[in-house]
């Protein structure tokens, strides 16, 4: 399935985005570059409001960057590309409240599919997220976690090779969240997808990802690119207790904090040297990081 296709799934090349509101301009992304390989799960980890959701919208073709280029399977993204599934954070607003669960899932399918295929895909996707019994209900009758499952099923029904998720589990309670994370780990295997997930939760990013890309505050720049050396099989308790996980969490936290202090207040942060992890942390930064750092200092 892979192998025969060469090149990255996603390439983001020097992308800049600015929002204009009247006279003021907010630069959200300023020359950001990254790549995602086929079959990878990459989490974009950054503080709230850093522009990571905007980046995801650029990947989805919902917004064209002001500068630079996004390529999907080597092709420049112009409008929403094929083979994409998108899950938004706000499931309550992203589902159609007047349609049943099944109709919501079916809504995401291409219009030219015949009726029996649509039904089969819908049933299969609902089965995959454990909602086969809720097909006839309306979103308003479901819990938040179940609603987000519907949104995930809607994306899966398209059988995407790239799944984009914008803080998908940020609005549900902790237990539901763990459930949904495991659901994602499982369906990602079943559906053989590349996944790009935006989050501000360090633990979640490490738990889900093969690679965590740490972003700085606005304008978002890549602070570090952490390979998660964990086996693909994950477990809510064992994985989170593993040495690799704990180490990565500390590392990611340091990086997030250094990104924050770099762009905001110029105070040194206590405790950096204490853990003795400073060496590897600094070494992890991708080479674009240097240029980014300088830009931040100039601000």
């Amino acid at each position: 399935m892979r192998g025969d296709l060469v090149g990255s799934m996603v390439e983001v090349d020097d992308v800049a985005v600015a929002f204009r509101d009247g006279r003021s301009t907010t630069t959200v992304l300023d020359g950001l570059s990254l790549h995602v390989e086929r079959d990878e799960v990459v989490c974009l980890l950054g503080p709230s409001g850093c522009g990571k959701s905007t980046l995801l919208r650029c990947l989805a073709g919902l917004r064209a960057p002001d500068r630079g280029e996004v390529r999907l399977r080597g092709e420049p993204v112009r409008g929403v590309p094929d083979g994409l599934g998108v899950v938004f954070q706000d499931y309550g607003r992203s589902l159609l409240p007047w349609s049943t669960v099944a109709r919501n899932v079916e809504f995401g399918l291409a219009a030219d599919l015949d009726r029996s295929t649509r039904r089969a895909r819908t049933e299969e996707a609902l089965e995959a997220v454990g909602l086969a019994d809720a097909a006839g209900r309306r979103p308003g009758q479901l819990s938040g976690g179940m609603q987000q499952r519907v949104a995930i099923a809607r994306a899966l029904a398209r059988r995407p090779d790239l799944l984009l998720m914008d803080e998908p589990f940020a609005s549900v309670d902790a237990l539901t969240r763990a459930d949904l994370e495991d659901l994602l780990v499982r369906v990602r295997r079943e559906y053989a997808m590349t996944v790009v997930l935006v989050t501000h939760d360090i633990d979640e990013s490490i738990y889900l990802a093969d690679r965590v890309v740490v972003l700085s505050p606005r304008p978002a720049a890549v602070v570090a690119d952490l390979a998660v050396g964990l086996p693909r099989e994950r477990d809510q308790i064992a994985t989170r207790e593993s040495e690799v996980f704990v180490h990565l969490r500390a590392q990611a936290a340091e990086l997030l904090r250094s990104g924050l202090s770099r762009s905001g207040a110029h105070h040194g942060h206590p405790g950096v040297g204490e853990r003795g992890e400073r060496g590897p942390v600094v070494g992890v930064g991708d080479d674009p990081g240097d240029g980014v750092q300088r830009e931040h200092l100039e601000r």
Binding site: A60, L62, V80, L84, V86, F88, D90, R93, S94, L96, P97, W98, S99, F107, G108, A110, A111, R138, P139, G140, R154, R158
Partner: protein, 256 residues
Amino acid sequence: MSRAVLRGLVGVGVFLAIGEVVGRIGLVPPELLPPTSAVLAGLVEIAGDPAFRADVVATVLAWLIGLGVAVGIAVPAGVLLGSVPGIRAGTRALVEFLRPIPSVALIPLAVVLIGQGPASKIALAVYAAVWPILFNTVHAVTEVDPLLRETAAAFRVGRRRTLARIVLPSMAPFVLTGVRLAAAVALILIVSTELLVGGGRGIGEYIAQSGTGGGRTDLVLAAAIVAGLVGLAANAALTAVGRRWLSWSPESAAAS
């Protein structure tokens, strides 16, 4: 719920009792304001009168036609105004000028232009009913959740399917509210025109004839009550439509 109904009934009962007492103790001459019992007797009388029943049919028919035409005009126009900001800006001054004119003031003009037949009262009802539907529709279009539109875009859902599956359903509760407001206004216009113009059939015409000459105020009030009941029934029917089909919407839940 039943408590609320009970209180409502008590309110109506007290009101009727006051009406009865005011008439009986001679506070107001009973031939000017008949007591409740006389009005209720009048209701029974006109209910058995085939001429009055024909009047009710004429009023309801004109009203339904007027409301239907108003929906047919105002909903598409509202969608257009709501989706094209240029047209909305261009028509705003005109709309703001026309809207506050009391439609009743246009009755003589309508009679001169259209004549004394039922077309006049229907045209006036249409004119009055268009506004609330139009405003609610324009509002409804602008209220469609941008995230839903973005969802449609992200799933590459075409324009027509987006309209059918997202825009129209999310507009429905607002439009229904507009129709409920319009129904009340249209009924007022129909009955007023019948009352003032005369020469046709309708509840208003019946009221006008009962009021002149002999001055059967009991029948005037009884017929007015029938007109009120027609409006009440329409509102209940439209609310039921909302409950049945738009139960997902917080608006429809609030409107009940």
